[in-house]
């Protein structure tokens, strides 16, 4: 691990920690504009986090240590995820520690603990949320992996850094397999990040909520960490999508000039992506929970299709 790699890694961590709430704030702003509301300021998520960190944490009498350790664990998982996805540069020493399959496993680990923590209190909402989260998870995870497989087969590597360099260097053609994979990935990201049409991040209606039901019992700093982790997850998914499908602008190792350009490029890409997300969320209606399996099964099939298209057509 050289010094430069370490610096790139620390930079990636800082960008993720600061950028994640910004992305969430930006999406909220765009959505408010699209819905003809007055938008909250861009820095609103930071203020919320600051407020929550100051508040005291209320923990249920029956809560076990699993409940209290989970926010930290989930936060750690999401930060690690943000560390291994090439956001600014492909020179990431951590990227060798976990490849794309491990990334999916990392999200799975966070999901397992968040669901267990929700079941820990023993309220009906917690278990309901855990059940729904696992339902979404077990369908979204394979679809995500199919997308990852397609990208890995094109670049003959499951290491995200190698994949990104390989994809960035090919000539610009729209590969049909990547197109299918892109649609599948978008669907998975919507589901995994508790977005419309699968879940609504702004609702507390018991019939529909998934993510909010999971973190219903959290308060104070625990809630702050959970919220931060959720925005890190959105950030990580966005960056993973950008890295696989729009890898241009990410700096290679030892390319310092490109590193200067990488941050504005990332900001621009995230801004466009966030606006599109807000657009999707505004124009689509939330679907019934039992339509979610169909939605995600479609994503899964699209992912398998992408894989087959690549293997059959070599494209």
């Amino acid at each position: 691990m050289n010094l430069e790699g370490l610096l790139a890694q620390l930079l990636a961590a800082a960008v993720a920690l600061v950028g994640a709430p910004l992305v969430t704030g930006w999406v909220n702003q765009c959505r408010a504009w699209l819905q003809n509301r007055r938008a909250p300021p861009l820095l609103m998520p930071f203020r919320t986090l600051h407020k929550l960190f100051w508040k005291e944490s209320v923990v249920a009498h029956d809560a076990s240590p699993v409940f209290r350790i989970t926010p930290y664990l989930v936060f750690g998982c999401m930060l690690l995820a943000a560390l291994i996805i090439p956001t600014l540069s492909t020179n990431l020493p951590m990227a060798t520690a976990a490849d794309a399959i491990a990334l999916v496993g990392l999200f799975g680990l966070a999901r397992l603990f968040i669901s267990l923590a929700a079941m820990d209190i023993g309220t009906s909402f917690g278990t309901l949320g855990a059940r729904r989260e696992m339902l979404v998870g077990f369908l979204a995870e394979p679809a995500f992996l199919m997308v990852v497989f397609t990208a890995s087969l094109i670049s003959s590597s499951t290491s995200l850094a190698t994949t990104v360099s390989a994809l960035a260097h090919r000539e610009f053609t729209i590969l049909p397999s990547l197109a299918f994979a892109g649609i599948a990935f978008t669907m998975v990201s919507l589901a995994e990040n508790a977005r419309v049409p699968v879940d609504n991040p702004t609702t507390h209606l018991e019939l529909t909520m998934i993510h909010e039901a999971l973190i219903l019992e959290y308060s104070g700093r625990h809630l702050a960490l959970m919220e931060w982790a959720a925005s890190l997850k959105l950030f990580a998914y966005s960056c993973a999508g950008l890295a696989i499908f729009f890898p241009w602008g990410i700096a290679e190792a030892n390319d310092h000039v490109a590193l200067l350009w990488a941050l504005p490029a990332l900001a621009a890409k995230l801004a466009i992506g966030g606006f599109l997300l807000a657009l999707i969320e505004t124009t689509l209606a939330k679907m019934r929970i039992f339509r979610v399996p169909e939605f995600l099964a479609t994503a899964f099939l699209l992912g398998v299709l992408a894989l087959l298209v690549h293997l059959l057509l070599g494209a």
Partner: protein, 672 residues
Amino acid sequence: MGSLPELLAIDGVMLVVVAWFAIGLAGIAALHNLAFVARVLFPLSASLSLALAGFALPALPGAPQVAVLAIGLPDLPFHLRLDALSAFFLALLGLASAGISVFAGGYFRQGEGTAPGLLCLHYHLFLASMAMVLLADDAYAFMVTWEVMALSSFFLVTTNHRIAEIRRAGFLYLLVAHVGAISILLCFGVLQANTGDYTFANMRAQSLPPFWASCAFGLALFGFGAKAGLLPLHVWLPEAHPAAPSPVSALMSGVMLKTAIYGLVRVNFDLLGSPLWWWGVVALVVGLATALFGVVFAAAQVDMKRLLAYSSIENVGLIVVGLGLAIVFAAYRMGSLAALALVASLYHCLNHAMFKSLLFLGTGSVLHATQERNLGKLGGLMRFMPWVAWTTLVGVVASAGLPPSNGFVSEWLLLQGFLFTGDLPNPYLRMLVPVFAAGVVLVAALAGYVMVKFFGVIFLGRPREEKLAQAHDAGGLERLGLAWLTAGCVLLGLFPVAVIEVMDPITTALVGRGLALSGRAGDWLLLAPMSAERASYSPILFLLVTAAVVFATIVLVRRFYHGRVRRAAPWDCGFPAQTARMQDTAEGFGQPIRQIFEPFYRMHRELPTPFDAAPRYKVTVEDPLWGWVYLRIAAATEAVSRWVGMLQRGRISIYLLYSFLTLVALLFLTQA
């Protein structure tokens, strides 16, 4: 040093086998002395297990060692052989059974069916026979020890033989075991290729024509599949595992299923020589079907041990998928990829031995503390049984195949293997195999669902019954056993490179290539089966960074803000009468899966009407294969028997007529 220490290994293994046998006999001598059996014999046996692993592991890289035992029929001695594959499975047996035997010392109580001494005999016969199966080098020794293994485990399953249901489960197990044994015997019959020499050395030397080789493969898959629980011969597993005492379930699921896998590997890669590619496809199809079936049914179970039994079926399916992939690669002479798939498969054997034993032992402690196997009557046990809960949590993460546990390593290796199928020369296979990868991924994701249900319903939430508040944590020996297996799960997860290096001689012997990680990646931290650019995974770094982030977050939050916590009642949604019964039940948690995979199940639902005074909801999920396959076979057998039975009229004149007709027919034949 030369050959002296190598000579010792096989003798050492035999010594352990004999010592186990002696412990069993000592148990008979102290038939009702529970304290002696539990506190002395079982821990002693656990140390012998460690010795077994200690003998087997150093023998792994060495040359195969052979021995001929004078026991057996005249002119038909037992041939034994300790090669890399046997040594690996012996080490697995030793490492897993060490934890299980220690736990068993604290587990067995007085008055549970069979007397403790007799139980001790069965248990150690079971252990000894499994070791002998792994050593056997001729069909005769293999079948005899295989039968001893089946019978001793049958007696262990029926420990509580006073319960009719358990006797029935035991019978089913015995039946399937023997159907499988017949098939294995026939397989050996094919393999010896009419030479009359049933030693494995002779079978290795034969090269069978493709038809007979395929017959041998089919018979082996059927025979060993019956023991491993492959579809459609899995039915005994969900019956026998809940019936058996927990350490026995752990031993059966963790170790005995692996002897079947050992048999499959031995026949396919060692005795048969060069496999055909379509065998691999058959194994892939059967394995994936088994895995999917197992996990989908595990999600619908309400009995914790049945849930684990179905989860075992799933894991065996995954192992066979890995073997299938290895066969496909081996058939096309892609040595290093075959090695990768085989390593994934064998690694998963080892992992499953650890985490499934751990989970079964955990359920044993829960069962003793609460007398409940039904998930719907458990809950909140984490507060009363922290030791069991935390160790089980490690097993749960491993079983869900999540990093940085050991379950993830083998899954990762298997998926890496699938990613190389693009290099296969056969275009149909290139097309087909990624679909299997999709299936494997689905199974892995569903396993997470099952494990959240398992752990969440038993250990988290609020106790669903009053009596659970009196549940006691596991005792000292039980804790030691649980801790041993937990440590196994953690270490296997954190040091995959070291484990795979140990496994290199096996793949070198079977498919001609090893993964040789140390030579290439040059870094013991980094697991990179092909090249670091292609794929790499470093569990230690993974764990360290996550732990560092968690620790730093805790410190920083306390430094810049505060660490105050207030305990309060959970939010009651404005409805004050919140009770523990409002939590999801096991049925409720499995409901989405039941809805999505409805065609898989045979479900009976009893739904209450709005006017019921005492509304009851009941749902039972049955195995559809039971009706489709087994009941039909039973009905057909009955019909044939009835038809044959018509011959028996019970009158002497009729039988004399048969004799007369037979005589006439024979005379006619001899003349012609």
